[in-house]
Symmetry: C5
């Protein structure tokens, strides 16, 4: 289980050092599956869906006057990426960003298309960690190409809505599809946050009941998830803001209000992130001070025991000495005198501890 984390981080730049700048090299985890390409074309009336395993015949298959959504699963296939560069005239440096899965979310407008790179995050219940996948989208005038790292049902609900003609998606252009993709990704951010929120609540209760070392590890894990989310959401907010500020050709002014909404969501996520950060730092403080409290309790027990018995043991020592003349040992009720003395000392100490509020 633990080994997965190191692996993730090691998806690594070292492969690229020493290469000519602008080299298209996939830096993510090794993968062996074939890449798959799916083309969905739709208008309000028509709908078609086809799968391809290379790019050559793809451009001819685009349906005119329809929304053409090309979804590519598997960016580890370098050849395929090169084909896209040739076929659709996508920029070399941007394709480099597509395969560099450590890319920072960003938006760039080119003559032929709008490019957006962002992170798909989803909470993995099993590992109690988040899965991180880079999505890159090229929005051209008559097509939308999305590159995914892994095959998966990220956009499942969007496909359903297209197929079932639910909502407004079939009545709108590819800019609305573009918006829907972003929106569904951000909805997943909310799910991640909600999971973290639930974790924090559970941790809060556990900390006050039973502070064990485990807890700090869990706190830090949730903090790292927030850090991860933060590294995804801040640049995304900037990107969406850029989309809103600048007049982007590929986005219909009427669709703009949807991006406004998305922008509001990114700010809301950031707000929650910041308050969770504060909550986590509060949890850490609680954890550490509860450790101290527990220590105090342990010390208190030790001190009470020791303070009561050490003097008593001293007295037993006194009457265990072998001096020839210890008067008390010859008293008839010496032994009971000893117990009386002992009882008085114990009662005195208990009163003292009560006063100190240790009992």
């Amino acid at each position: 289980m633990k080994k997965t984390k190191p692996k993730k981080r090691r998806t690594s730049v070292s492969k690229k050092v020493g290469m000519p700048p602008g080299s298209i090299i996939y830096v993510g985890r090794e993968r062996t599956e074939n890449a798959s390409i799916e083309l969905i074309s739709y208008t309000s009336d028509s709908f078609s869906k086809n799968e391809y395993d290379n790019c050559s015949s793809l451009k001819k298959s685009l349906v005119a006057d329809a929304v053409n959504w090309i979804n590519v699963d598997g960016i580890h296939n370098q050849q395929l990426i090169n084909q896209f560069e040739a076929e659709f005239g996508l920029d070399h440096l941007l394709l480099e960003d597509v395969v560099n899965t450590n890319q920072r979310p960003k938006v760039e407008e080119h003559n032929q298309y709008l490019f957006l790179s962002l992170k798909m995050l989803s909470y993995n219940e099993l590992d109690q960690d988040i899965d991180n996948e880079q999505i890159s989208i090229f929005l051209g005038s008559d097509y939308l190409i999305s590159f995914q790292e892994k095959s998966g049902d990220v956009f499942g609900s969007i496909r359903e809505r297209i197929v079932g003609s639910k909502g407004q998606i079939r009545n709108n252009g590819n800019d609305y599809l573009f918006y829907s993709l972003i929106d569904s990704i951000i909805d997943n951010y909310f799910l991640v946050i909600e999971n973290v929120g639930n974790n924090l609540e559970e941790l809060e209760e556990e900390i006050f009941n039973n502070p064990s070392q485990n807890l700090l590890e869990k706190i830090l894990k949730n903090k790292n998830i927030l850090l991860n989310l933060r590294r995804s959401i801040y640049p995304l907010r900037e990107s969406i803001n850029k989309l809103l500020r600048e007049n982007i050709n590929f986005i219909n002014p009427e669709t703009n209000k949807y991006f406004n909404d998305v922008y509001d969501h990114t700010i809301q996520i950031i707000d929650i992130l910041e308050s969770y950060k504060d909550i986590i730092s509060g949890l850490k403080d609680s954890y550490i001070s509860n450790l101290s409290l527990k220590m105090n309790q342990i010390m208190q027990v030790l001190t009470i025991i020791a303070t009561i018995f050490i003097p008593l043991t001293f007295i037993t020592g006194v009457y265990g000495m072998n001096f020839e003349h210890i008067p008390e040992t010859h008293w008839k009720n010496g032994y009971w005198f000893f117990w009386a003395l002992t009882t008085i000392i114990v009662i005195g100490l208990i009163i003292y501890f009560k006063k100190k509020k240790w009992l």
Copy 2:
């Protein structure tokens, strides 16, 4: 008691994931009461008040040349919200914000109306926590619609002033009503802050008298209240600032000075929040260092007891040994010699502790 907090946070986005964007779905707590609609129409001379339970005949009931205040209790009724969209031409995305009770406070100007969403916070003495309610206001040219999450007397004093024609409210337009609603909400923020302030004072005294684990929980609770307040007040300040900067059609320039005043209040609240944050961090420091101090005291008692009795017990051990020739045991006054020795050691140690300032 504890269960209420988790529930609140779980008012949750997960219901919305996978839905088409722009779906109007109430994400707050489940509620079963009927929603109620109240229409208050007034001019400086006239006043009328009616209740409705749906929206259909509402628009016709608006009084011309008067201030028409429509107050809606209960945003969980989706049908009702849809009626408002149809009747008053309210924007779909904004109504989505109305029912999404996790919405961040914001202001938006549309052609037909001005939209403001903000949080009503009130201190709940019972839970020692704050109640959080979202208020959304549409200010049109001849109406003001306010949506409340729960029925309640939030705006009671405003109603009284309208009915009793107290203050300037009856002589002013619906922008003044708009201002009065915001003002009364912000007044409640001050009350929340004041309660937190009182709590902090009590905590301060308790910490120096009796630092128990409970206190940290209380400190964190107050910190969370401040965090909550902060998440409401910062975006509200931005919104009010936007109202002031931009020339809003729906607000009379003469009413502007009142919004200036409201703006000053938001800044004042933020100032207090920041200083309370500092005070709370000071309380935490006090709490933790008082734990250490208490530990030191416990250790000191233990050390004094042990340091005094361990050597004495050793001596009793010595004279309790069964060697055949221990000269002292045969002394006539051996036993008194032992007590003299003991007394000297105890006095010496007490002097030592006095010097160390442990006694």
Copy 3:
């Protein structure tokens, strides 16, 4: 003594909740003295001074072509405030700020006058706390009205300079008087800072000599004073900056350089505040780590005592056993053998502690 702090904070907004916005309600401490009004009129040649107890004949008493300084002690008299509103045409909302002693320092230019609200802070040696008083100033074209919360000698030295015709004050207009008032208030800020500085030095020495719980309370008290000062000085700096940036009619361009000087002072105070904040956080660190050091010393003493005597006591136990055949007990010099063994163990442990640097 302790009760004064809660009272201060409770000067409280709760009186205002539910009132129509813009209500003039004094929120400070209850006061019963009569308010007093003093009018000082002076030119370079002439000087007159009169006292009034209401506002009615005041406006007629203003001397033409002279500086007319109206100083009002006691803003708790609501009637009086209302008279000023009527007589001098002062804005209702600003007068609300005058009596709201929790007001944030601010400047506002109106057609008839310039309004400045700021905090008079003075160090109270007795409580080791600061006294906080709100001063509000209206600078009109031919008068300057200053409202003080309490009667007191805040502006004593200015009066002396006017009476004695010291400095440049008699040769300048009411804008110079305005500047002099602000300058004397800021001079008092420096005094407060200096007192805090001295306190910090004393605390520094005490911490390294004798860290007691008391000290943390003192550190936090000084920190709160700085917080208080900060809440006064930051908005004041903004206000002065606004005075400098905007062309204020009521201030002669030649007087501007004096406000430049005041602005420099506010920045200097902020610099010192920031460095004192760092010093205080250093003191807290010292305090807490000195607690740990003291703990270490206590533990060390305990450990040394226990480590030396526990083995020795074990040996006495051994020779105190009642086995029938313990060879050593029958040795002629068994007892001395015991003491030799004891001595060797003690010397060995002392060498060990020396090596550990515990002795």
Copy 4:
């Protein structure tokens, strides 16, 4: 090993104090090797490479209409630097920056050339520290001069690409070479970061398994590496940004997109730096709280042992006393009664500890 760090920091300004401003004085480590100068000239067709040991004949050797890259190893040779000033008309103050190895990264445009100073960082596995080397580049219209502190293979891969005509380098001008140099340096930053990332992962595991003092030293070492990286990357980002914002004559507009890419990389590094900073502070917290946890465990063992045996030892003391009448000692089964009593106490205490969750 430890001595290397002090030496580095002492590369020091004190040599310069008291000198006339603008003195060209090398402040780095003492070096004795000769400086070496290498001139590589290339076009898409031709390629030549020569070495020189002084600057005199260098200018004549530049190939017209080709990219001329002059790489200087060894800035400690003051005479050589002076020759460059004379030959190429490089600014005196800039050459002072070249030899001042504590220079902050910066860019400056002059009439004849563009100047960029930046830091080459590489991770040194041996010391687990980073090597720091200052690179200064003058980009003229027909030459590029790079000054390196040490001879070394920093630009090895670029030389290979030039020689082997790999990538686009031979088809582009000296601005592309300029870009390639910067790009290869930034690639090394990623390597340093990756090493730090790996270190942090290892530390994370060690902290939870075996918190020793060593670890804190290691944590701080990695933090210092990040600090170092930060001091290099922030000003570099500014510099690149300046290159992008301003229209630099020496950079072809077509090459601009590469600098855009470099800029993205600097931001990405900064993002990672910030998140590593958070991770490090998390590690420190873990380390410190694990120390406390270990302390708690130790105390717990001590308390359990003491709490069990101290009462038992008291009982043995009781029955070891020499009173004449201790009834139990005369019981037939007194000894077994003692063991029964002992067993009951031990069982009772174990139940108590179980309840306290100490066992």
Copy 5:
């Protein structure tokens, strides 16, 4: 030694409170020496140097078409300052700043001169503290007046260069002299920083070898030096930036590049300050966690000793009881049985401690 610090801070504003604004009152340490005035006049060809003890004949002594540098040692002489006001027409408020040694560094351009106030800091090896001296410079068209707090060799090396005609100083105007003065002061900042750097290194080693209370005091002392430096350098950077941004008449455009260089130096110092701040906070963390580590070690020793001997002592207690029938005491080899039991327990505990990694 310790008394010097309080004295410094008490150079104090309280002398000024209640005085008319703009009073010229020296607030530094009491001084009794006479002030001395030195006039150095030079061109590239000529050089003259004279001393004066008042200001009256000074203006006539200025050499036309030469650089006239008037250096005043001793600003405590109020009369002298007044003379300068009269002779050179220096502004009253600025002279107030000259004698107010708590002044914040600033620059101001007047019609007749440019005013710059800054702090001369030098490291005092004896106190391990820094000496703080305020330097104020008036740069007129044909003179430069510098006011120093104390006589001293601050500008010694500049005088040497003027006398010896070293560097470019004799060939440039008084703006270059102005630059040289600032440059030599900033060079001293680097020296201070270097000393702090060396101190930090030493502290780092000491902390890991021998954490004593002394160390925290030293850490805080160095932190205070940095704070002091910071309060001097930040406003100086602003001032230099202002010099660069605005077109100052008194500075030749050609000299501007030198001020650019000075500006770079101030930024470099700030960079180092910030990283030293981080290092110091790291040292504090190390110090505190090393205290905990030491505590752990002490506790460990105590626990090992106690855990081994307490059970053994119990056993000796058992066989020291006076029950009539203790079977083991009658065994022939009872005593050796006891030692065997003891040995087994000790070995068992040692194995347990090894497993716990306490040994």
